[in-house]
Amino acid sequence: MSDVKYSTDHEWVRIEGDIAVVGITDHAQEQLGDVVFIDLPDVGAEMEKGGDAAVVESVKAASDVIAPLTGEVIEVNSALEDDPAKVNADAEGDGWFLKIKMSDTSELDGLMDADAYKAFVESEA
């Protein structure tokens, strides 16, 4: 079973060793509506937890994706360039955004598990 964690900014993080795969949650894509463009960072860029990681453009607005962890971007999901709607279809699978090589795994402790995130979403409603 893979270890998936969630941020209060509605990102999910799947841990694969010291690599974190990052995307936005299904709840987030539902709130955004139809995604039409994703501005992804360059591979090699340094992300700082709480800083800007990417921008998601829906028909109605542009929304910032906040970096949930600190580290170096080692891969981005370039399939989203041609098919940004993957984020709506499969936000927590094929619609992943980027992979970060974590520089401080203790930051994971600040993220939520699935049950805590579910409760968080309900508390925001």
């Binding site: 463009f37 921008v55 453009e57 028909v59 109605k60 607005a61 940004p84």
Partner: protein, 384 residues
């Protein structure tokens, strides 16, 4: 909805007569112009947008302001003091798009004016103005016509728009005889003892109608429209993307109290006689801009690639000089790519000109492009 569209942040958000219907249809309700309105339904903005272009979409526009203007004398002559549109020669049952202007010739609001003849031979005008502007508009009009005409507000009437190539057949299913109504014409129609005002116009670039109806029967009438073949409910999000593809201005974004109708490419809406005679607010400036050209002009913009440029993005010339600003921008689902409108210096406004749009600190290559982005599909009466 563009995030920059006028939003009233009053806590006392009002409900339109169709509010419960929106909620039952799964509409995602947001505050807009002081009302709770659906930004989208569960199918999403792109599906709603496309459905309106191929079939028919039903929009709740009850937040807009409706009013009668009556006068003991010629009401058109009185109203012409406030707008540059030709109203005196407007036929009965015909409508005009025009603008309320301030003394600088800038736009207080844009509106639709329909003329109806009364039994005694005199005319009345039906005014339909933007929801976010209606209180100010009506105060301005009442003040400006005081003593010569009287404004009767119609807060108890709902307004819905039915838009798309299947709109005529759908509305025709309830109201026979609307199918051959000319574009920009209106009729009073009684339907099951309810008085309707049906006009053939809209804000999507498609054929369609707007239906003014008293509050109480509005939900049943809306449901009957939704039961017609091809009709789906459409929210504010698709309303904005449809009007943008059609090159139609959104008040508060593309036009406001700092823009003139000439800058906004609305010169077509100013009648020949009005251009000769003036007699509307800011006429000196407007007539001068018609004769000599405005300093800046609203243009279409098509960014390369997929990234949209939105309201507020700076427009630069090819050599990096700031020449204007984007006023509306989004993704055009029918166009199949990002589209925008903005003002640029008139000298740099030629179609095909390469420009740069500044988005998040990066420059996005774009071209100045003809409007509309998607051809209008208005009803044309068959040739006789």
């Amino acid at each position: 909805m563009s995030p920059d569209a006028p939003v009233d942040t009053h806590s006392d958000i009002q409900h339109t007569p169709l509010h419960d219907l929106h909620v039952s249809l799964g509409g995602k309700m947001v505050p807009f112009a002081g009302y709770s309105l659906p930004i989208q339904y569960p199918t999403g903005i792109i599906t709603e947008h496309t459905h309106t272009r191929t079939d028919a979409g039903l929009f709740d526009v009850s937040h807009m302001g409706q009013a009668w203007l009556r006068a003991p004398g010629d009401v058109a002559t009185v109203m012409e003091r406030l707008v540059p549109g030709e109203l005196q020669k407007l036929g009965s049952g015909r409508m005009r798009y025009t603008q309320l202007l301030n003394d600088d010739g800038c736009i207080i609001d844009d509106l639709m004016i329909t003329k109806f003849a009364q039994d005694d031979g005199s005319d009345v005008l039906l005014l339909v103005v933007n929801g976010a502007c209606k209180d100010g508009d009506f105060a301005h009009i009442a003040d400006a016509v005081a003593g010569d005409a009287e404004l009767e507000l119609l807060p108890d009437r709902a307004l819905m728009a039915l838009q798309g190539p299947k709109a005529a057949a759908a509305l025709g299913g309830l109201l026979p005889d609307v199918a051959d109504m000319p574009f920009m014409s209106a009729r009073k129609i009684e339907y099951e003892l309810v008085d309707l005002i049906v006009s053939r116009c809209g804000y999507t670039g498609e054929d369609g109608f707007e239906i003014s109806i008293p509050r109480t029967p509005a939900p049943v009438f809306a449901q009957r429209l939704l039961d017609q073949p091809g009709v789906a409910p459409i929210g504010l999000g698709a309303r904005d993307s449809l009007r943008l593809e059609a090159g139609l201005c959104l008040y508060g974004n593309d036009i406001d109290t700092t823009t003139t109708p000439i800058e906004a490419n609305l010169t077509w809406s100013i009648g020949k006689r009005r251009r000769e005679e003036g007699g509307f607010p800011g006429a000196e400036r407007i007539l001068n801009e018609i004769a000599n050209g405005p300093g800046r002009v609203l243009v279409g913009l098509t960014p390369e690639g997929r990234a949209p440029a939105r309201n507020g993005a700076v427009i630069q010339s090819g050599d990096g000089r700031e020449i204007g600003m984007v006023t509306s921008g989004s993704f055009g689902p029918t166009f199949g790519g990002p589209v925008a409108m903005g003002y640029v210096e008139a000298a740099a406004s030629a179609e095909g000109t390469d420009v740069q749009l500044m988005v998040r600190g990066k420059s996005l290559p774009a071209k100045i492009s003809p409007l509309p982005f998607v051809p209008h599909n208005y009803y044309r009466a068959p040739a006789k």
